[in-house]
């Protein structure tokens, strides 16, 4: 186990050495080009012809036209992802899983966003995506088809803004917390990490049916929401990397006429160099909890659990450094609700509850104009565990658990080329996920990007089955 983790760390070290060397080589390339001879030449006319910048002054009239197409933003992208490291994962001393090189994603996606202020103070916003899964993609493979298509509506809300208030009704997201990508307070939205092409939580959020009311005061703001139809993190899609065949299927939550809702409010105030927020909410845990079925050929029914959340978040800007702190206290959460998002995460059959105290602490540091580093650590601890004599706890539930997240980005050529990387791991040091992304914007519309994702995990980590996986991805996108 430790050697596997060690090998993966070596890979990670090589991986970052590459990034470092890339930056050094790139920088040298630019610094070697001197224009001294040009600049000292008085014969050169430095009075620019603005036409080389698309004649901004001549297009003034045209740009002021109000075209209905301006309300749409469309992005078309083709994505390929493969697991490229052939290896075996030992399950027992005599049994192992063969992880072959395999194409996982071959997908053409179209994301459409519509935003229209159709009358003073009124906004209609909607977004949706259409995906075509080509041959080789896990979603077409599982259906034995040459291609499979999928449509999903994301946002759809109507907004009315007046005086110092705003009301939004419809499918939307609510984001709490200051720590980027790793906040204990970012629990209002549900998420879907369907595969490893989605690493950042910003890309995984799903919308829900909400009524949001914002009040903007002179010194502070209030934002409150009601969720009329709480939804839950979707179960893994059959065929996806997070799906594992079991003798039963995970089912969706059957409301059976139950009227459940969520409600919450946040108060925020900005001080000198700092923003402070207080929150309170009545929520349902996003991750459904399943018990292993007691009878054969019977599917387990999900359990839902309501709890109360109290939160506090603050940031502080100190020059180039931004410090973030989130604190969350959750009352009456299920013990088994912190599992990794796959259908291997089954409860031990317990309905025991506990209170959970969590904190996220992080900082963002602007190294210079182009480079940024952010690090976040999330730690949680259960208190007042309400266990029954039949519960079979390992004791780990009583320890501090959590994760950490580090991001680095470096932009070259006015942002035309961006190199970024993410490292994610758990506090126990049992798993490590390393991502490197290189994105090049060919122009204002076309962009290409490549990603490498490497995972290492110990035997008792939820990522165990992905240990030593290396994924290589490429995406071409066109925005207009």
């Amino acid at each position: 186990m430790s050697s596997r983790l060690g090998r993966a760390r070596t890979k990670t070290t090589r991986f970052y050495s590459f990034i470092f060397l890339f930056g050094v080589i790139y920088g040298q390339d630019n610094s070697n080009k001197s224009l001294d001879d040009i600049l000292l030449d008085d014969n050169i006319d430095f009075a620019f012809d603005d036409s080389i910048f698309n004649s901004p002054f001549e297009t003034e009239q045209e740009s002021s036209k109000n075209d209905w197409l301006d309300n749409f933003t469309i992005k078309v992208s083709q994505q390929l992802y493969s697991q490229i490291n052939h290896h075996r994962i030992p399950i027992t001393p005599t049994l192992s899983i063969d992880r072959k090189r395999d194409l996982e994603i071959n997908r053409l996606g179209t994301n459409v966003r519509y935003q229209n202020v159709f009358a003073p103070g009124w906004l209609l916003q909607a977004s949706a995506q259409l995906r075509l899964h080509w041959a080789g993609d896990y979603q077409s493979e599982v259906e034995n088809k040459n291609f499979e298509w999928e449509f999903r509506g994301n946002e759809l809300f109507l907004q009315r803004s007046f005086a110092n208030q705003t009301i939004k009704l419809g499918r939307q997201t609510v984001v709490w917390g200051e720590t980027l990508g790793n906040s204990v307070l970012d629990v209002i939205n549900i998420n879907e990490f369907r595969d490893f092409s989605i690493i950042d939580i910003e890309d995984a959020r799903l919308n829900q049916w909400l009524l949001v009311w914002d009040f903007f005061g002179d010194d502070s703001d209030f934002s409150s929401f009601i969720n009329f139809f709480p939804e839950f993190n979707p179960n893994p899609v059959r065929g996806s990397p997070f799906f594992f065949e079991m003798p039963f299927d995970l089912t969706e939550y059957d409301r059976e006429g139950d009227l459940i809702f969520e409600v919450g409010t946040k108060w925020k105030r900005s001080f000198k160099g700092s923003d402070v927020s207080l929150m309170a909410a009545y929520l349902y845990e996003n991750q459904l909890s399943f018990d292993v079925p007691s009878e054969a050929f019977k599917n387990p029914k999900p359990k839902v659990n309501d709890f109360v959340l109290f939160g506090f978040s603050v940031n502080r800007a100190l020059g180039k450094l931004l410090l973030n702190l989130d604190i969350a206290y959750s009352h009456d959460v299920l013990l088994g609700s912190f599992n990794f998002l796959s259908n291997t995460s089954m409860n031990s059959g317990s309905s025991s509850k506990a209170n959970r105290l969590g904190t996220s602490f992080g900082f963002e540091y602007a190294v210079n104009n182009n480079q940024n580093i952010s690090i976040g650590i999330q730690a949680q601890k259960l208190t007042n565990i309400d266990s029954t004599p039949f519960d079979n706890f390992s004791g780990n539930e009583r320890k501090v658990f959590g994760s950490w997240l580090a991001r680095y980005s470096n932009a070259f050529n006015n942002g035309n080329l961006t190199v970024s990387s993410t490292l994610q791991g758990d506090l126990k040091g049992e798993s490590l996920l390393a991502l490197m992304d290189v994105t090049y914007n060919l122009n204002d519309k076309w962009a290409i990007s490549t990603q490498i994702i490497s995972i290492s995990a110990a035997d008792n980590s939820p990522l165990f089955l992905f240990s030593e996986d290396v994924r290589l991805g490429a995406t071409v996108s066109f925005s207009f």
């Binding site: 630019n30 001197s34 903007f216 180039k320």
Partner: protein, 297 residues
């Protein structure tokens, strides 16, 4: 990094002129530069601008500087208003209109004149889904200046002079682009030297219109690292302004052009518009901006 700094660009270094003449006074570098700060406040106050920010790698063709590649273009709208004692603090908000992939990205900036008080910046990225305070550092500190929307313009290039921290010398009276200019050297004092990337700057100030037509920035090794060129000097609302500014980075061979496509000053701006609400509340923002557009039309 914010709209306020855009105004500073064309007013600080390249300055608009006042109808006040320096004739009859002893003409010094300082007296000329002092006109800049006053002009800046005038251009900042209650303004609404539409801008285009273009960046590219540059080269020389037919004896002229030109883009060696198709420029990347951003369209921006900004609103600013002065506050505080003597209207020396500025609140501004800038919204990205184009390209589509960056549409809606907004930045709110509070700039304080008070010594020791950091400026504050908030950014709204739709991908993050919330307003985020930015730790970009303050140019009054020993920090690397921040880039303006990824361009070659930085906060240091665009900040106000703090003239008492510099010494000035008129090096020459010459001609540039057919205009008579003062060639003024601007050198930071010891304290300022700790905070600036430049060991000295040289500005070529149009004698008649008091606009800098060209500026050169030198690093601590006395090597010219940046050059800024002004064009389209026009009288806008009784103030001379350079509506096209091009900053060349002589180290990376890249340049950015800032074109003030439309400039309006002395417009009525609601205080509530210059708050974080404008970043997130699209209906509110667009309604208020539309009011400004209608007034100006």
């Amino acid at each position: 990094m914010n709209s306020n700094q855009f105004y500073r660009v064309f007013s600080l270094i390249f300055m608009a002129s006042f109808t006040v003449s320096v004739l009859g006074q002893e003409i010094t570098g300082l007296s000329i530069m002092q006109l800049v700060d006053d002009a800046q406040r005038q251009t900042n106050n209650s303004s609404f601008n539409k801008m285009q920010l273009s960046s590219c790698k540059f080269g020389v063709a037919s004896g002229r500087i030109t883009c060696a590649e198709k420029p990347r273009v951003k369209s921006l709208e900004s609103v600013a208003k002065n506050y505080g004692p003597n209207l020396k603090d500025t609140k501004s908000v800038t919204i990205t209109i184009e390209p589509p992939s960056e549409r809606g990205i907004g930045m709110l900036n509070f700039t304080y004149d008070e010594i020791g008080r950091d400026n504050e910046t908030w950014l709204y990225l739709s991908a993050i889904g919330r307003v985020k305070r930015i730790a970009s550092g303050d140019s009054d500190e020993e920090t690397e200046p921040a880039s303006l929307f990824g361009s070659e313009f930085t906060t240091e290039d665009t900040e106000t002079g703090k003239l008492e921290e510099y010494s000035f010398e008129i090096l020459d009276e010459t001609e540039i682009a057919g205009r008579k200019v003062w060639k003024i050297e601007m050198t930071p004092n010891e304290e300022r030297s700790k905070k600036t990337r430049y060991s000295r700057q040289i500005h070529y100030i149009d004698k008649e219109r008091h606009v800098a037509l060209r500026s050169e920035m030198y690093d601590r090794y006395n090597k010219e690292v940046k050059r800024l060129m002004a064009a389209r000097v026009e009288l806008v609302n009784e103030v001379w302004m350079a509506r096209s500014l091009t900053m060349m980075n002589l180290v990376t061979n890249r340049l950015s052009n800032m074109a003030f496509v439309e400039i309006y000053t002395d417009v009525t701006i609601d205080d509530e518009f210059l708050t974080q609400r404008t970043l997130t509340d699209v209906a509110f923002r667009e309604t208020e901006l539309e009011k400004l557009r209608l007034i100006l039309d």
